[in-house]
Every structure is written in structure tokens, then in C-alpha cells.
Amino acid sequence: MKKTLFSLVMAAVLLLTACGGQKSTTNPGSGTPVQITYMEWGDPAELDVWKAIVSDFEAANPGVKVNVDVSDWDSYWTKLKTLLAANTPPDVFAMDAPLYPDYQSRGVLLNLQPYIDKNPGMLDGLFPNTLTAYKTPDGYFGLPRDFQTIAVFYNKDMFDKAGVPYPKAGWTYDDLRATAKALTKDTSGDGKIDQFGYVIDPWDFEGGMSEIIWAYGGDLINADHTKTLLGDPNARQAFQFLHDMMFVDKSIPDPNTSSQYGGDLFLSGNAAMIATGHWSVPGYSEAKFKWDVVPMPKGPAGQATSVNSAGFVVAKDSKNPQVAFNFIKFVESAAGQTRLAQMGFACPVLESVAKSDAFLKQSTLINQQIFLDELAYAHMKPVFKGYDEWSSTVGDGLTPMWNGEAQLNPTLDQIVVAADAVLAKNK
């Protein structure tokens, strides 16, 4: 019974996957061009930059053609999983470091170590923090493409209008709270606050939550990813601080309030400060107000921010792994990294390019150096198997508290239990 049902399942699965279609890869020896596909999430605007990178790569590698496929974040992961299950994965695809172990541990990624070993010194110029996420005991199954540190973006016009001095590097969370309070206003006079001092992402840790937890001496999870530490006293204090800004000062909008603005409150001119990454820069460059960037504030345990890197991986079933690796190598090179830097969405992982004019003197005139300096005190956004489910469980658990319907401490107690169960399951 067990066996027949199982073969029935497999037959059905095979039948379904057989409809997936064939990929157009040709034999490297046959004279026709070798085609590889590179798939990533991103903004449609990124496609032009990738086309430029690809044409540079193709010019340097005659007989090779790269197809670039860009999807939005949500569709990207659905599409990727479907292609992987159908055994027709893209040769090279983009990876978000926290999600990397979910794929690496399931054996769908190619071990790049043998290829890296043939190119000694290839990783030398890369920022070490960005490499850590992709390292496994068996070598690298992925390499960072670019990185994001989180900083506070502030609306200069709003500060000027309120006569509040701009935040300066070395400021503290108490400064942030006072500043945010001074900038929280009801500008239309209808009795409802419509200008907020500070915005955080109440669900994604890198959007203002993990930074303050670290600055208060707490942590999100222990080193071997078996215990959730959000209920520890320092983390609790950090949550209490954000909670009080939201519900006592009302300088951070709660989710029910911010959702009505349908998008980014900073960009729409309804918030004075926001904790976000470099990915916001191209969008904010269209804003009608002047703005700048300042490092994350200091807490009782010092200064802290979050660093996360997007990377490249190669599918284990790629028909042209060498070409795929060569493409990654090219994007990691100074030429490729320079093009990526000009795109303006992220920081280059190659130190020489990050410290060159290609990154520092971009069309948007802000202090880009801050994003690099922050690496000195940045903590890595957690990277472990089951991250997606763990962070969703934490996020779901926090929701009633951010909605003002549950108390902070019991909420954190419950979250730790639920999140630890997810960790145990994903071991």
C-alpha cells in the first residue's frame, strides 16, 4: 500500500514536472553559442545595468550568451522554486544570504570551491563580512554580489522647518527618541498625527529592530541557531524602547497607521527619519525634498548596525557550470563591480571599487562613505536553515503587540517558545 501510493505520487510528480519544458543549452564544443541564464529579483530599472554587464562579459568571452531574467521579490522565489523542482533551474541566480542555507542544505547548489581554488586570490579584495554568510564547512556554494548596511535616512527639509538640528554621527538612541518626538506633528490640524519622527520595519529585523537590540547588548539568536534570544533582558529593553516610541511618544507609526499610507512614509514626506538600506537610495533620489544619511545611533552597549549581502549561486544541475562561474567571476571583478556600483542600489563587495569614485561619487549626492564605515560595527543578519519560517513566526507573534492589542512581555515570552520550536524542526 505504502509503496503503490508512493509510486503513484512520484508518477504524478514526474508527469507534472515533465511539462516544464526544455532549456536551450547547447554543447560548448558544437560551435553554436553557449547560453546561460542569470535570474534575480529586482527593479525593472536594474535590467539596463545588467545588460551592460552582460555585453561586457560577452565581449570578453566570445561564443557565450547570457540571458538575464528579473522578477519582483515575491514572484522571484516562487518562480525559482518551481524551476528547481522541475529540474530546469537558471544557471546562475541571485540569493539573499539569510535564505542561502535553505537552498544550500538541500543540495541544489553547486559547490564553487573547486572553481575558486583554480583562481587563487580571487576573493582577496572582497569585504570579509560579506563572505562569511556564504562560507560552509565544505567551501563556498555562493559568493556575495553586493551588500547592504542599514543607516538612518533623514528629511533635511523637515528638520529645517521644525528648527531641529540634523543628527550627527555618534548620536545615541536617546537623541533619536528626542529628535523623533520633536518632529512628530499634526500638520493639517485635524487632530491626527500625520508627520512621524521615525519609521521602522516592525517585521524585518534589518529595518531598525536588530540594530537597536544589538546596540542594547542583546542578540536575535544564539551562535549555533538553536535558541531565540529575543526574550533576554537586553533585547526586551530594546523592544520596550521602540514600543514606547510607538505608543507613548507616538513618534513611530504603528502598522495600522502606516499601512494607510500605502507605501514608504519617508518617501511620501510623512516621516522625518527611517532606518533602511542603500536599496532605498535610487527611489529616494526622486523625492521632492532634500535628505541625507547618518549612521545608526549608539546604545548602552555601543554602536551597531546590520549587514546583509545578496549573492550569486550556481545551480547544481547547470549544464555549463564553468561558464556560469566565469560570469560570477566577471561580476566580482573591478569592471563588473564598477557597473553594479553605478546602479546605485547596493554597496560593492570589492573593497577597491567601494572606495573608488564609482561608488563614492554617485549622482545622488549623499555621504556614501557612511555605508562602508558602518561595516566596522555591523552584525550579520542571521543566516541559517529555516530563517524564513523563523522570522515569519517571530513577525506573526509581534503583530498583536505592534497593533497595540497585546502586552510586550507576554508577547515576547510566547514568541521565544514558538520560534524555538521552528528552530528545532529545521535542525
Binding site: 505504502k2 501510493l5 508512493f6 503513484l8 505520487v9 512520484m10 504524478a12 510528480v13 508527469l15 507534472l16 522565489w77 516562487t78 522554486k81 528547481l84 523542482a85 535553505d102 537552498y103 538541500r106 543540495g107 541544489v108 491626527k192 500625520d194 520595519d201 516592525p202 517585521w203 524585518d204 502598522p255 495600522n256 497607521t257 499601512s259 494607510q260 499610507y261 500605502g262 524564513d388 519560517e389 522570522s391 515569519s392 517571530v394 513577525g395 506573526d396 503583530t399 498583536p400 497593533n403 492589542e405
Partner: protein
């Protein structure tokens, strides 16, 4: 169940010919996925590595998984409000639009419009209507001297999305009821008028009994739709990290499969949903024998 005439000879041929496209689609399209889902529900499968046998554990898990139980409760609450809502409102609209009034086709088109509009787009518009401080609904309430209501906060969100889902389904129900209403012979009304029956009496003693087949059909369809409801709800209640403040079963299936690498568990949820719908349909057909009048 006496349905009167039975198809004969050539008619039978045409019957199968007309059904063929649907049946072929079901057999070659849906049947494979249904069998695969059934099979996968007995496995642990993460999509990327081969499935491993799980026995009944995915099903046992359904009884203890608080997230799923919450979703199931929401689906039931939603259905209890949605199904009667759709049937009553669309019958009401159909009766209104079954009269000889000027521009009736314009009204019919307007009521049908939500059915052919992208649910994602209209849900975004509803978000603007429902906004607590910025929404147009509260603007009117405030002008009427009433306090603002947080329509999409968790305590009101279920009601708010039910309203939108009913609004979105009026058009479809209206078409079914209009078809049913036109089949009611005019003479019945004429005779009733002669006997002095008013509009209400005519509705309750003639229209209502004679459209019971349509009511039955619409209840059936609405129930299936209620159990599958997802798009409006997700668009209006989604939160960061892919959560929803009104998680329903379909949402839970999607999230387990695509975000949590839990295709086995998601398949078990899908099968349980299907079984519940089948049981309800059985109950409806039992009710049909007792209450539905076929002329």
C-alpha cells in the same frame, strides 16, 4: 430528484460533446494535481529533495498546529457571513434589476463590473476607502458626527473583508438570479395581483419558492468560493513577513508551501479543505431534496 426529461439518442451525444472540453481539462489538468496533492499529503517534501514518507503525521499535525486552526476558524467565520450575504444581496439586486426600468442594462453592467476587474487592483482601492485616518469612509462618518473606525484593524478586519468579498460577488449571483427570475411565469404575478397580493406577498409566496433552484445553486457556488477566498483578503490584510491579519486556509496552504518548504503539510491542508467542502456539498444536496422546488 426528478429532473423531468432525460437526454436521449443524439442528445446524449451532444451532451458529451459539450461536456468534453471541461472533462478533458479536468482529467488531464486537474486530476493529476489532485492525485499528486493527495499523495504528497502523506510525505514530507520540501520541493528540492525527494519526498520522504510521513504517514499520517501531516494530518495529525493539522489538529495541533495553532496557525492552521486559526486559519480554519477564520475560513468558517468568513463563510458563515459571506454565503448568506452573497445570496441575500445578489437576490435583492436581481429582483430590483428584473423590472422594466430605464437604463437597466447600465445598472446590470455596473453591478457586474467587480467580477471582471482585477481583485488586486480593487482591493487596493478598498484599502484607501477603509483607511483609518485617511480613508473616505471615515471622512463621511466624521462629517456625520461619528467617530472614526479602524476598519482593517484586527478586530474589524474580518467584517470589512467580508463586505468587500460580497461586493465583489454580487455580479455573479445577480446573473444566476436574473436567469432564475425570468423563468418565473408572468401569469403567476398577474393572477396574484388580481387576488390583491402586494409586492411583499408576491415576493415571498411566488418569487422566493420558484427561485429556490437558483438559491440552491448560488449557495453551493458561494460556499465553494468562500472556502477558496484569498485574493481580496490577502491584499487587504497582509502584513510584513507575508503574514495576514485574517489568515484563511488557502493563505495557510500557500504560505506553508512557498515560504516554509512544507509541501507535505500544505497538501494535507488542501485535502482537508477539499473534504470539508465535499461534506458540506453532501449536506446541501440533502437539504435540496427537502426544500428546493423544481417546477
Amino acid at each position: 430528484m426528478e429532473y423531468g426529461l432525460k437526454p436521449l439518442g443524439r442528445e446524449r451525444l451532444w451532451l458529451w460533446a459539450m461536456l468534453a472540453p471541461t472533462l478533458i481539462g479536468l482529467v488531464f489538468g486537474a486530476l493529476g494535481s489532485i492525485l499528486a496533492t493527495l499523495g504528497l499529503s502523506f510525505t514530507h517534501w520540501d520541493l528540492l529533495t525527494p519526498p520522504t514518507w510521513a504517514g499520517l503525521s501531516n494530518y495529525i499535525n493539522l489538529f495541533t498546529n495553532p496557525a492552521f486552526l486559526k486559519a480554519l476558524t477564520n475560513t468558517f467565520k468568513f463563510s458563515l457571513l459571506y454565503v448568506p450575504g452573497v445570496v441575500i444581496v445578489s437576490l435583492f439586486v436581481a429582483v430590483l434589476l428584473n423590472r422594466k426600468i430605464r437604463g437597466v442594462s447600465v445598472f446590470r453592467t455596473i453591478y457586474f463590473l467587480p467580477c471582471v476587474t482585477s481583485a488586486v487592483a480593487t482591493a487596493l482601492v478598498w484599502n484607501l476607502i477603509y483607511g483609518r485616518d485617511t480613508g473616505i469612509l471615515n471622512y463621511f462618518l466624521n462629517h456625520a458626527g461619528l467617530a472614526s473606525v479602524c476598519w482593517l484593524c484586527s478586530k474589524n478586519a474580518l467584517m470589512s473583508v467580508v463586505v468587500v468579498n460580497i461586493w465583489g460577488a454580487i455580479g455573479e449571483g445577480m446573473i444566476i438570479f436574473l436567469a432564475g427570475l425570468t423563468a418565473v411565469p408572468r401569469e403567476f404575478y398577474e393572477a396574484a395581483t388580481m387576488d390583491g397580493a402586494g409586492n411583499f406577498a408576491q415576493f415571498f409566496y411566488i418569487t422566493l419558492p420558484l427561485v429556490t433552484p437558483s438559491i440552491f445553486f448560488q449557495t453551493l457556488i458561494s460556499t465553494i468560493n468562500a472556502f477558496q477566498a484569498y485574493d481580496y483578503i490577502y491584499m487587504m490584510t497582509r502584513q510584513g513577513q507575508g503574514d495576514s491579519s485574517v489568515p484563511v486556509v488557502v493563505f495557510s496552504i500557500y504560505r506553508n508551501a512557498w515560504n516554509f518548504f512544507n509541501y507535505g503539510g500544505a497538501s494535507a491542508q488542501a485535502i482537508e479543505l477539499a473534504v470539508l467542502v465535499i461534506l458540506l456539498m453532501g449536506f446541501y444536496f440533502w437539504l435540496e431534496r427537502r426544500f428546493v422546488v423544481y417546477e
